[in-house]
Symmetry: C2
Subunit: 132 residues, 2 copies
């Protein structure tokens, strides 16, 4: 498994070499999901778990990025970390400042997904299962 | 409250008069969220609760519609039904047939959000946080 992590971290650095980095917040183990492709956040999740040995990682997203956050979680669970569990999902609303030329604040939906490495002994399923 | 419901249902029929209806599945109290604006599904949620006196309503969405589903839930909770609770959220992956001219199946993320009317006396839903 650690070989996989090393490989993934290597790819992660390649991907982010010319790119701005996936935004890690000052709070440890919180990843803000924005407009990058889901794979960037997948790599962010994996490096958080492997690099800092975190027990929990939280993804935060708002607006259209909610879909990206869900995609990142699903890709990570199905392809890379079979032992990953979702311990909490919460929805919310944030008031954003109005866009230029518009009056009034606009509300944006948010999601927070908290992931945990399950304590179970690692059972590595080598081939990804086909989900229905 | 019932006056509000009547008003909302009236608006709902107006909105859907020239429109195809929000898709209600054969399973009772399941709403499939697609490409319509969130307000259509808000009205769908409210009519499910008021019309059939359902205890629970489930929203199902996949792909980009996940954001619409979250929007619909948040709008319903903040504007129309302050006593609405989220009893369960689950994420998943579905394999879709490939698009024309593309090989291989593609995976799409899904979300299911189950809503319940809480028995509690009305506590106002939290006001939207102002984002920093």
């Amino acid at each position: 498994m650690s070989a996989v992590f090393k490989y993934v971290r290597f790819i992660y650095y390649l991907v982010n070499a010319d790119n701005e980095e996936v935004k890690m917040s000052r709070e440890p183990n919180v990843i803000y999901v924005g407009r990058k492709p889901p794979m960037n956040y997948v790599l962010g999740i994996i490096t958080s778990f492997s690099g800092s040995n975190a027990e929990e990682v939280t993804l935060k997203a708002r607006g259209q990025a909610i879909t990206t956050a869900v995609d990142a979680v699903e890709i990570t669970r199905h392809r890379f970390m079979k032992d990953l569990g979702i311990s909490k999902i919460s929805l919310g609303t944030e008031e954003m400042p109005p866009r230029e030329g518009e009056g009034g604040a606009r509300n944006v939906s948010t999601i927070e997904i908290t992931l945990t490495k399950e304590a179970k002994p690692k059972e590595e399923a080598k081939k990804p299962k086909k989900s229905k």
